[in-house]
């Protein structure tokens, strides 16, 4: 089963994601944002970048791209859906994850390694980790200041150091109730080879690949009427 890697105009991390997913044994294919059929995909990744130029708000236009109806269908059917950085912002704009993103507290673009701590292992991204495990992953964002006034988001990774961007509860990654939709602000795909300074992102993406292969196909189609959040 294939993992679709969505490409919007302005996405720029798609090849890194495809490279890593394939190196982990998965079939991964790029999917243009105007694709309206992801029938062959068992999971989808929304990679980082600046979809549609980040105009208006990050993710504001991307959520209306034709591919998002398919992303929503997969999410509602319980399939693994991962948004990384800008992909996380798109998932909140689309309402597939609760909350929203603001400019970083100190109005600085943050581009450096950060340490994150696992606080919930019941998600497609953190299923291979231990509670309290510390991972070193690069953060690369200006609008990573996550907040969720509804309190519905499930925190799965938390910044270990003093909060770099002001995110609520130090949220570095959050999941929906079912744990199949996850948004992460740092870039696990950039920490998958020791040569790059860390391979701590591998345990996360390995879990995602495993979930893409093992999540059973939904019986009777999407769970209509069930809120994915």
């Amino acid at each position: 089963m294939t993992i679709a890697v969505a490409v919007f105009p302005g996405t720029n991390c798609e090849m890194d994601v495809v490279w890593v997913l394939r190196s982990l044994g998965a079939e991964a294919e790029l999917a243009w944002h105007r694709d309206v059929d992801l029938a062959g995909a068992s999971a989808v990744v929304l990679p980082g970048g600046f979809a549609h130029g980040d105009y208006l708000r990050t993710g504001a236009f991307a959520r209306f791209s034709p591919i998002m109806a398919e992303v929503e269908r997969l999410a509602t059917a319980g399939r693994p859906v991962l948004g990384i950085c800008n992909g996380f912002q798109i998932l909140t704009e689309a309402g597939l994850l609760p909350g929203a993103h603001l400019a970083n507290r100190d109005l600085a673009f943050i581009c450096r390694f950060v340490e994150v701590e696992v606080v919930d292992t019941a998600s497609v991204l953190t299923a291979g980790t231990q509670l309290g495990q510390v991972l070193r992953i690069p953060l690369n964002s200006y609008e990573g200041n996550y907040l969720d006034p509804s309190g519905r988001a499930r925190l799965v990774l938390r910044y270990l150091e003093p909060n770099p961007n002001g995110a609520q509860d130090g949220a570095a990654a959050v999941a929906n109730t079912f744990g199949n939709v996850v948004g992460i602000m740092p870039h696990p795909e950039r920490a998958t080879e020791a040569l790059l300074g860390s391979d701590d992102g591998k345990v996360l993406l390995e879990a995602f690949v495993r979930a893409a292969v093992t999540t059973p196909a939904p019986a009777g189609g999407a769970r209509s009427g069930v809120s994915v959040v």
Binding site: L56, L102, A103, D106
Partner: protein, 80 residues
């Protein structure tokens, strides 16, 4: 006909650019500045004939795209 849309950050939601601008104004000696919020104004030219229709449609645009309901409120003013 023209719509002026004002998108404002909800009072309880932090506004990092506004906070930073407020601090900068204080640093410049404007001690009377008690708070700054940075709003967004969107001007939309319309071919609509009826002001009521224009308002209804633009409010729908706000709900769907122009404002994020998690963070922002909006107001719509229709001008001839």
């Amino acid at each position: 006909m023209r719509a002026i849309v004002r998108v404002t950050r909800r009072p309880e939601i932090a506004d990092p650019p506004g906070l930073t601008t407020g601090r900068a104004l204080a640093d410049l000696g404007y001690g009377e500045v008690a708070g700054v919020r940075i709003d967004r104004v969107i001007t939309i030219e319309l071919t609509t004939v009826s002001a009521a229709d224009a308002k209804r449609r633009v409010e729908e645009m706000c709900e769907r795209l122009l404002a994020n309901p998690v963070l922002e409120d909006y107001s719509v003013t229709i001008e001839p």
